[in-house]
């Protein structure tokens, strides 16, 4: 079949895909089209079928009915091992092989693809550098010698090794502490801005989904309940389930977490630029509105100074502007 089209906007298509385990239906006729270069997050409570959906895409689980196509080609028509070597796969840090060094773990798929040794070594160095791991220090280490965050970086590097177009990530940061988790999320977003992979990311953590996703797909009991951007979901949750996932009455804060201070601040007037000393409290323009509100609450103030990335004073944020969006920009 010559229907493989590597430039079409849609790279992964699920068409009425169903998975039954015995009598139970884990995934119920879902239809989903994922455009090339999108970071698509499947989110839902445990047992909602999100992981099953992910694992059907690389045939770790065979679907019972419907069609899954990658680049227009049905995945059933591709040899399953060849298919998987084309798709990056990252799971929780325990998925590293404990008896292999970091370098050997990362080089796994290139080795399966029979790349020459020199090319594998070069690729491993490149990936270690990309993930911010010092080659001299980490290449020869074993997984148990790594911290959770380091192990997960290695897991991501391993998934990226053969430069696959698609990356499947199954709760990759699920076992990490909140701080490490946050820094790895930032790291993945930074990588994605450079690499433009198509990423399907599974998580049960709505905050993670809101932060990472170009598009969020909310699943419940094997069906897709709602899909859309973070802002779309927050503005209009489809039902009570989505609303509760979004945190119910915390929704306002979650929305604030997605809004940058720069969007609400008042730029400095020339008079202020003269060096009027206001409060010593300041936030960065790239910080979220949520962080700014937290600072105001904590210090009991109703305005903050805003710095840019270089630490230059660029504006101020007033409580009234933070709470109510104004359409005026001076």
């Amino acid at each position: 079949m010559a229907d493989r089209d590597a430039s079409a906007p849609i790279i992964i298509e699920l068409d009425a895909v169903t998975k039954r385990f015995g009598d139970a239906t884990a995934v119920d006729a879902i239809t989903l089209a994922i455009p090339r270069g999108e970071l698509c997050v499947l989110v839902g409570t445990s047992g909602c079928g999100k992981s099953t959906t992910l694992r059907m895409i690389n045939r770790l689980i065979e679907h019972s009915a419907g069609q899954i196509r990658i680049d227009g080609q049905q995945i059933r028509e591709v040899d399953e091992q060849r298919l998987r070597r084309r798709i990056g796969y990252a799971i929780q840090s325990t998925g590293l092989f404990p008896h292999w060094t970091v370098a050997r773990n990362i080089g796994l798929v290139p080795r399966l693809l029979r790349w020459p040794a020199a090319r594998i070594a070069a690729r491993v160095s490149e990936l270690l550098a990309l993930l911010g791991l010092d080659e001299g220090e980490f290449a020869g280490k074993y997984p148990h010698q790594l911290s959770g965050g380091q192990a997960q970086r290695v897991g991501v590097a391993r998934a990226l090794a053969a430069d696959p177009e698609i990356l499947l990530m199954d709760e990759p940061f699920g076992a990490l502490d909140p701080i490490t988790r946050e820094s790895l999320q930032d790291e993945l977003l930074r990588l994605q801005a450079r690499l433009h992979k198509t990423i399907v990311f599974v998580t049960h953590d709505m905050d993670e989904a809101l932060k990472m996703a170009d598009r969020i797909v909310v699943m419940d009991e094997g069906r897709i309940v709602q899909q859309g951007s973070a802002a779309e979901l927050l503005r209009a949750p489809a039902n009570a389930f989505v609303e509760s996932l979004l945190g119910g009455r915390d929704r306002g804060l979650k929305h604030a977490a997605l809004t940058r201070v720069a969007e609400r601040m008042r730029p400095l007037t020339d008079a202020q630029r003269g060096g009027q000393a206001l409060e010593a409290l300041s936030v960065a323009a790239d910080d979220s509105l949520r962080q700014a509100l937290s600072l105001m609450l904590w210090h009991g103030v109703d305005s903050l100074l805003v710095n840019d990335a270089e630490g230059q004073l660029v504006g101020s944020l007033l409580l009234q502007d933070a709470v109510i969006q104004r359409n005026t920009t001076p």
Binding site: Q81, R85, I91, Q92, T94, G95, P98, Q145
Partner: protein, 379 residues
């Protein structure tokens, strides 16, 4: 520890017998070496006690050296005693090892084990230390200075038989371990493939394990004798109601449970995340097994081989009762003739081999774990 050693000093260390039958005359440390020897030993004990008081790593290492040295010198002390106590030409007189000597050996070995545990040396270093002690003993034996030892008198009486029995014993154990490893691997793989097999297989193996060894030999006697009579080619192979065949079958039957259980558990316990990742990366089922599952299971499987080998070494002694030969022959001969030294001639090598095999496999498994980067905290 110190208390036990002091008690040992009061007991007779060795006894001198004019011949095999006459009871010997016990000699204590005092009567052997006088006050000087006693003082030397007491000084040594005091030194050890002082070192144990503040167990820093250096003190422990020093104690290890002292204890190791004592153990290595023990056979040589015996050489000296033998030379002094027996006049040349007394060909039938012999030195027996007394309660004190055994107690001393026991206490020293205990101290050695405790020190090795506390120091947590690399497994191969530990194995090397054991080997050095064994070599010292061997050298003392070879020097001829111990020929007057009762044990050695028994040995010289039947050295050809001893070597044949030793070879036979080792061969039997090696064959049993090899065959049961193959069978156990097959069973474990079959159980992983068809999970329904598991319950049945393990219950059969457990029942086999509970049959007393002598009863199992007896149970095998009749059918094997019948088969050998029925098919003469079996008889030509040496398969009869008694002899190596029933012993071999019974030992394999006993070995299967620990071996299969360890092999199965080892393969099954490999973290599912790891095999899941392996499959998800595009490894074929064969690659997952040979490159991931088996290497990760190996240390636990080695543990199974160790248990089986040690068990087989001991059980093979009982097999001597049904004419299977091996070192057990001397034990039962000795028991029959009330000659304890002959019993020891069979029993001591069995214990020694069991200890060496046990140590070797433990060291191998631990070394493997460390090589795989999964050693414990102090790795």
């Amino acid at each position: 520890m110190v208390l036990a050693a002091t008690v040992a000093l009061g007991l007779p260390l060795v006894s001198v017998q004019p011949n095999r039958i006459m009871p010997g005359e016990g000699l204590t440390l005092w009567s052997l070496g006088g006050p000087l020897a006693l003082a030397a030993v007491l000084l040594l004990l005091a030194a050890l006690a002082w070192l144990a008081w503040r167990p820093t790593r250096r003190a422990l290492t020093l104690s290890l050296v002292l204890v190791g040295l004592c153990l290595a010198l023990l056979p040589w002390a015996l050489v000296a005693v033998a030379a002094e106590q027996l006049e040349p030409g007394m060909t039938s007189a012999r030195i027996g090892l007394g309660a004190g000597w055994w107690a001393l050996l026991f206490v020293l070995l205990l101290a050695l084990l405790e020190l090795l545990n506390r120091l947590a040396l690399a497994p191969l270093l530990r194995w090397g230390l054991t080997l050095a002690l064994a070599l010292s003993l061997f050298a003392a034996l070879m020097s001829g200075g111990l020929d007057s030892l009762a044990l050695m008198r028994e040995y010289h009486g039947r050295s050809a038989a001893f070597h044949a029995a030793l070879r036979y014993h080792l061969l039997l154990v090696a064959a049993v371990v090899g065959v049961s490893l193959l069978l156990a691997a097959t069973l474990a793989l079959a159980m992983r493939r068809w999970s329904g097999l598991r319950r049945g297989t393990f219950s059969v193996l457990s029942v086999l394990q509970t049959i007393p060894s002598l009863a199992l030999f007896g149970l095998l006697l009749a059918p094997l004798a019948y088969l050998a009579a029925r098919f003469t080619w079996l008889g030509d192979l040496g398969i009869r109601g008694i002899g190596w065949a029933p012993a071999f079958i019974a030992l394999v039957a006993y070995s299967l449970l620990p071996m299969t259980r360890n092999a199965y558990v080892a393969l099954d316990e490999v973290a599912s995340e790891v095999t899941d990742a392996a499959r998800g990366m595009g490894m074929s089922p064969g690659q997952v097994f040979w490159q991931v599952r088996l290497p990760l299971a190996l240390p636990v499987m080695l543990e199974g081989i160790r248990i089986t080998a040690v068990q087989a070494i001991g059980l093979a002694a009982v097999a001597a009762l049904i004419g299977a030969g091996g070192l057990g022959t001397f034990i039962f001969q000795g028991l029959g003739q009330a000659a304890m030294d002959l019993v020891l001639l069979g029993a001591l090598p069995i214990i020694l081999i069991a200890l060496l095999v046990d140590g070797l496999f433990s060291a191998l498994a631990e070394q493997l774990r460390r090589a795989q980067g999964r050693g414990d905290a102090h790795g």
